[in-house]
Amino acid sequence: MSEILEQISTAVIEGDVGEIKDLTEDALDEDLSAEEILDKGLTPGMDYVGVEFKAGNMFVPEVLRSAKTMQLSMDILKPLLAESGVEMVGKVLLGTVKGDLHDIGKNLVGMMCEGAGFEIKDLGRNVEPEAFVQAVRDFEPNIVGMSALLTTTMRSMESTIKVLEEAGLRDKVKIMIGGAPLTQAFADQIGADGYASNAAAAADLAKKFVSA
């Protein structure tokens, strides 16, 4: 492996947001392809971060810094990847459902999924079912992630799924849900494809959905 790819991996692991853009440009100057930089530089770095996080050796703020580092590199690589026809891992549409203003968990999911290589569109909080539908049409995500903290607002997930069905879009996306009062049983009951108990598990679930 070339030295520059190793440096890119290290920059991701260390969350070196100051250096990553230059390193990415340098790698491209060395005639490495965007795909190589992604597969052999960024992804091995994030994989290492994932393992260390699960082992309890790295913590959320460090993981988010690594994800941000990867993101800065991806901003440069994305157009090049698109040109050469390389597909991104996938797209995730996120939102806290109607009636609910709690969004720290959903934000964490977004950052974790970004770190896993997904393109994210975050609709924010208090998102109407119709807004999800419109965004599924425009953004064409592989996965829709819905979040709720309240036992009252978690019901909006069910109505959002219904509206997606009525719009004929349900089969085009995998739906994952999360939030403190939620359970796998609730996910099954409302016809979601999956439930994740925390942000790291959500990123894993998203990866599973797109590789299936």
Partner: protein, 487 residues
């Protein structure tokens, strides 16, 4: 003759100096005046603007004089009354008095028969209330759960309707919205004998929860307005998470959370001057590995002690937190985390300490954790009661009379004091090995389970009035009618 003789019989505990408290106080006032909060309620913003707040869109900023004025209006001492007039069940809020009780809204519950974790249901409510009613160191009542097997909008109403007849200790009522609040209030007022009688002897406290960072949601403020207009004592309790929805530092989370709470205070005092008001709530850390709000973290009791001192510094009572654990089961972790926070809370004299009985980081309520903590609270209260030093307790003549090589077992002095000087455990075992073996070699957990089951089999809470029973039925029927279009 001794005059103005100061007796420091209780334990003295202080975390922060007066200078530190003044800095925290100034920090809160600065946040409220310069940053402000978003208030998602038109009427609330109008009321605050009329009172002197600066309103710009959703954003409300409070000049310091307005906040200080609200602080002078809220009482430091008042009484919450038992619905049946039982003086032992009254709660006197005031300096040096710590009270304890459970918390609301856990989605799961440890079944009292199978001891297994499962979703919380309607029939759990009376059991929790009964256990609280019987436990000597539990002073107020919440349900330890969100009722999952009724229409999703009616959980809070069924919760209150299930608790009220099964305990006469004051209840802290959580609710979803103004409809719940009105139903709850109608039940409580009927029992009290009308609105005026209720205002003189309030038998429940209303609980509202704003959102961190710096948001007063529509529901939180709407319920506050209802409670303030009906003169229901009020808790306005944020749950900021250090590192996530609040600064990572203790001083930072304290001033942000206090600012969130004092927005509610200023609104409540503008509507109902003199309304009894507790600032809250749960100030802990985000675990940076599991991403949960850690209830068992040492930062929780530490932050809560600092918050209690800030509350008392400005003359407010505090909604404390303790007796909680992140453990998933009834084990050593549950007891260590629960007992440490309970003891720390008792030391601070934080006025109502809630969430006793929370396990799994507030995801599962457990009456067994609650009963175990009743023991820890008793233990803590014995320590915080301190040592009384006077001529009689010094026992100089008693020691002189017994002399070298005597014993104290037959002394009048011993008989006079042994019941109050010593604390008697209900669950901790002090028998010798042979007796313990003979009694079935029980563990602390075995004895806790047995005590809870014994209470459930034998304890009879005092009954509510027949007219209150009818009002409960009426309120529930009306509520069911309101939501009948839900599938």
């Amino acid at each position: 003759m001794r005059t103005n003789y100061v007796v420091n019989s209780g334990v003295r505990f202080q975390l922060l100096s007066d200078d530190q408290l003044q800095e925290l106080f100034d920090g809160v006032l600065h946040l409220l005046e310069y940053t402000g909060l978003d208030v998602y309620h038109d009427e609330a913003r109008d009321i605050l603007e009329k009172a002197g707040a600066w309103v710009d869109g959703l954003r409300v900023r409070l000049p310091a004089y307005l906040v200080k004025d609200a602080l002078t209006k809220a009482p430091r001492s008042f009484t919450l009354f038992a619905r049946d007039g039982n003086p032992k069940h009254n709660i006197h809020i005031g300096p040096g008095r710590a009270h304890f009780g459970p918390g609301p809204t856990c989605p799961n519950f440890i079944d009292v028969e199978t001891l297994k974790r499962r979703p919380y249901v309607k029939s759990d409510v009376p059991l929790v209330a009964k256990v609280c009613d019987a436990l000597p160191n539990i002073d107020f009542v919440e349900s330890l759960g969100t009722v999952g097997d009724v229409d999703y909008e009616l959980g809070a109403l069924y919760e209150f309707a299930g608790m009220f007849p099964n305990t006469s200790k004051p209840i802290v009522a959580w609710s979803y919205d103004r409809f719940d609040s009105a139903g709850i209030h109608e039940i409580a007022v009927t029992e009290a004998g009308g609105q005026e009688a209720f205002e003189r002897r309030p038998n429940y406290v209303h609980y509202c929860e704003p959102l961190s960072p710096l948001v007063s949601t529509f529901e939180a403020v709407d319920k506050l307005i209802f409670a303030a207009r009906h003169r229901v004592p009020l808790i306005f309790t944020p749950c900021p998470i250090s590192g996530g929805t609040a600064p990572v530092t203790s001083a930072g989370i304290i001033i942000q959370g206090a600012a969130e709470s004092w927005l509610g205070l200023t609104l409540a005092q503008a509507i109902q001057p003199g309304l009894p008001y507790f600032m809250g709530g749960v100030f802990s850390v985000m675990d940076m590995s599991s991403m949960i709000l850690a209830y068992g973290a040492p930062e929780l009791p530490l932050n809560m002690a600092a918050l209690t001192e800030l509350a008392h510094f400005v003359g407010l009572p505090l909604w404390q937190t303790g007796g909680v654990t992140d453990s998933k089961t009834f084990d050593e972790q549950a007891i260590i985390e629960g007992s440490m926070s309970v003891f720390f809370s008792a030391l601070t004299g934080g006025d109502l300490c809630h969430d006793v009985g929370y396990t799994e980081s507030a995801m599962t309520g457990s009456v067994f954790q609650l009963a175990a903590m009743d023991e820890a609270i008793g233990y803590s209260r014995r320590i915080t009661r301190g040592i009384e030093v006077n001529e009689d307790t010094l026992a100089v003549p008693v020691i002189h009379n017994v002399g070298p090589n005597g014993h104290y077992l037959r002394e009048k002095h011993t008989r006079r004091y042994y019941k109050n000087e010593f604390w008697y455990p209900k669950l901790c075992d002090r028998r010798n090995y042979e007796e313990w073996e003979m009694m079935g070699k029980t563990s602390f957990k075995d004895r806790t389970v047995a005590r809870v089951q014994d209470i459930l089999a034998t304890h009879q809470p005092s009954a509510i009035k027949p007219e209150t029973e009818r009002v409960i039925e009426k309120v529930l029927a009306e509520a069911e009618e309101r939501v009948k279009d839900h599938k």
